[in-house]
Symmetry: C2
């Protein structure tokens, strides 16, 4: 399995792999100090010592953007059938009402809430993405931090620090085995997610170095997620279960449960068992000098990333020219080859099939001016106006384009031709969503679940998270009323 | 990694791999019908249709022996530090007192009880073993069945049928990837355990074929257990977590959570992701014609199997000749080479080190006449009488011996020489523990936890399980008073 095959299949799941810039401290970069016998220990030592005060301001800021984006998708996904089924299931044995199921009224014990919030936040495949590894960094980590913040005293700075470090651990471990682990067949978000959850929880529990290593070992022994499950409810189960596995790992380690101190790198440890290759330097080099969360990305549109450049361009042309479907004679798209490999459905019949049709995507972008979860419904896919416009879309493959590029040409009935080249689609690392765009996405997702006032309050709590005295306030504010 | 290397390392963990006879229906054996595209479906179809009435009497009988042996080790392990820590941990979030923690007074919700009973039953490494795969078949399965039997109406026949079928599924799946999955680094009991738990639970929940396949898919996506964890508390965590994973899988599938219908055999399914080779015919051939539980084995001694022939022979000579340590001049052992590879510690200082000393094992067998968990303590390892006898033991490696053979020669101070050749150690498939020996093992394990009356009552319930109206009675009778 080569890298290209991983890229294709990953893209099918809504994610593409790309190289991305990294924030690296400029001077005095240390020589690589990787000791392949002490990967877990080196990582644990750093994590235990790392303080909120060490985080540069852009990293703190990106953490609040990740938090806001993630809370929005979790609230938005909270009524999905997968969440309803999982809730009905865990209610059979759940504990006391300790923590909030985001976007809902029910409260359950922290361990079961973590599963549900992990599922709801990934069920639309609309959460944040690390484009290098295809890991969705927040889904396994934030549920655990919120649950602990509702049962123990957790300050805003401690919350943000634990979130950054959990994501740091899971993304570094993932990069060390990318793309070979994914090629073996693991869903990276599930197979590394427990590391993020265990580390995030471990920080809030103030684990010492040895206990942090045991927590990492307990996480290592519980990878979740075969890629075979893509397309079923079990895909969103993966980050939820990974979150539970990491939380349990940290809580057991806190009380003295023993594991391996070399869970990642041992001969029969995680990296050797799950992957055919590994680069431990990626895990241990430059700790505290660059942060993985700096290249987190957020999806503006509720479909696979490969269609995003087309949607971005169509919305720009629509908004700038007040386009209506009736005015359009034809639409010509020049696209990367992978777009047709994955989204060539000319006649989608369901909302989900609409996500796999670049023709529908272009049409709905112009008709609706947006492409959130609400724009991928059976009703809209069958709407005569949308269908008429969809059938005017023509595609040309252009291998010289990169995956986040597209060229859109709209020919109007009055003879005018509008043209737009998208260099980097919105939501890419090079062209990130603005704060205002993240707010709009949040509001869209929360619209039928939280009042507008409540949604605004919740967004404010996310943006101000590092100044909160009690981070549990975020979770409580996300409950449905 | 060749098969031999797996055998060695497995033996280090207390298990050896051996070929073993299989009960196969004699006539009309069907032609292999394996469709590599429909492994999960074929297995699910069989499991859903299989009835207690189809089980031959020797299979029912072996199930009750497995049940009795397993309950004994779970009760015996229930005060281990690993269980204490896990109990203190889950108490932080556990649900209502629905089910019994075997050997204890506390009751918790079914999901958390399943973890604790899985840990306690494996923490001594004294539970049943499938010698072909090194799977400990009961530990992931029985906790789930007992928990359900305490919350839903489960008859004895349904309980035994679910137990046989859960073990059938996990052992067949394990055999299909043995020894390559173990060579990759997976602890088989954890990586296949969720299949057993999901299938056992699925039978008690009366899942239809599609839901049974979804349950198997949800189990497939949650393998537990790196072999790196051997030697730490996390080894016994593996069957406990596997039991939880399987129970959750079945409960989710019951309510309609979707997974893959080809979780085992798909290109990115369980067998391809976890192993480098696989033989699906082992999973689907002769279903309902032979039963994996027929070759289950039980350990008479609380240490690695490689030392068992020596202990067996020493106890026989002691009992037949009323041997005392004081009467012995020297002991000569002829042993398989692996015995010294794994248990050559001449001067053990702790109970655990005693398990890795064939010298101590021979001595304690003669001094105590048994080798249960109570014979591997620091006090006995440091006992002067035992040390004096231990130092009279000499070993000779004899490569012509098999792993379950040994020759013991005891020279007495009065000049007599006693000799015993062990053809198959007690506890091997060829020389299974008798019912009386299983009872004695049970009584030993339960001695400080249950009253003698209560232990006898519990053994009777296990032996009579198939006649019980309410199988939950077994769990309740195993509570400490």
């Amino acid at each position: 399995m080569n890298r290209r095959s991983f890229m294709r299949r990953t893209a099918a799941a809504g994610t593409v792999i790309a190289s991305a810039p990294v924030i690296v401290a400029p001077a005095n970069a240390a020589e690589p100090t990787t000791n392949p016998q002490k990967v877990t220990q080196t990582l644990s030592r750093y994590l235990v010592a790392a303080r909120f005060e060490d985080l540069p301001e852009p990293i703190r800021k990106e953490a609040t953007r990740s938090l806001l984006n993630w809370i929005g998708v979790a609230v938005g996904g909270s009524r999905h059938e997968a969440v309803e089924i999982a809730l009905a299931t865990v209610t059979l044995f759940a504990g006391p009402p300790q923590a909030t199921i985001l976007g809902r009224k029910e409260r359950l014990d922290i361990m079961n809430v973590v599963l549900l919030n992990g599922i709801s936040s990934h069920v639309f495949d609309f959460d944040d993405t690390d484009l290098t590894t295809a890991v969705h960094p927040s889904a396994p980590v934030i549920p655990v931090l919120l649950a602990l913040a509702e049962t123990r005293k957790v300050s805003g700075p401690d919350f943000i620090n634990a979130m950054v470090l959990g994501i740091e651990a899971e993304c570094r471990v993932a990069r060390a085995v990318t793309p070979t682990m994914q090629d073996v067949g693991w869903h990276a978000t599930g197979s590394v997610g427990a590391f993020g959850a265990a580390v995030g929880a471990g920080k809030l529990l103030n684990l010492d170095e040895t206990r942090m290593s045991h927590a990492i070992g307990l996480a290592a022994t519980q990878p979740v997620g075969l890629r075979e499950m893509f397309g079923s409810m079990t895909k969103s189960f993966h980050p939820g279960r990974a979150a539970q596995n990491g939380l349990l790992a940290a809580l057991l380690a806190e009380k003295g449960y023993t594991s391996s101190l070399r869970g990642i790198e041992a001969k029969r440890g995680w990296a050797n068992v799950l992957s055919t290759a590994r680069d431990y330097a990626v895990i241990t080099d430059d700790l505290g000098k660059h942060w993985e969360i700096s290249r987190n990305s957020y999806k503006p549109f509720a479909c696979g990333l490969v269609v995003h450049p087309v949607i971005d361009g169509c919305i720009q042309l629509r908004d700038e020219n007040k386009l209506t479907a009736a005015a359009i004679d034809r639409i010509d798209l020049a696209i990367h080859p992978i777009v047709l490999e994955l989204t060539s459905n000319r006649t989608p019949r369901t909302g989900l099939e609409g996500k796999f049709s670049v023709y529908y995507a272009a049409a709905i972008a112009i008709v609706a001016g947006r492409a959130g979860e609400a724009q991928f419904t059976g009703a809209l896919v069958r709407d005569p106006t949308v269908i008429a416009l969809r059938d005017k879309v023509q595609t040309t493959v252009d291998p010289s384009l990169s995956q986040d590029q597209a060229r859109i040409k709209v020919t109007l009935k009055d003879g005018r031709v509008l043209d737009r080249f998208i260099e980097h689609a919105v939501g890419s690392v090079e062209n990130p969503m603005s704060d205002a765009q993240l707010d709009a996405k949040f509001a869209d997702l929360a619209v039928d679940i939280l009042s507008a006032d409540r949604a605004r309050h919740l967004m404010k709590l996310c943006r101000d998270a590092e100044h909160l005295t009690d981070a549990g306030e975020i979770a409580r504010a996300a409950a449905a009323t």
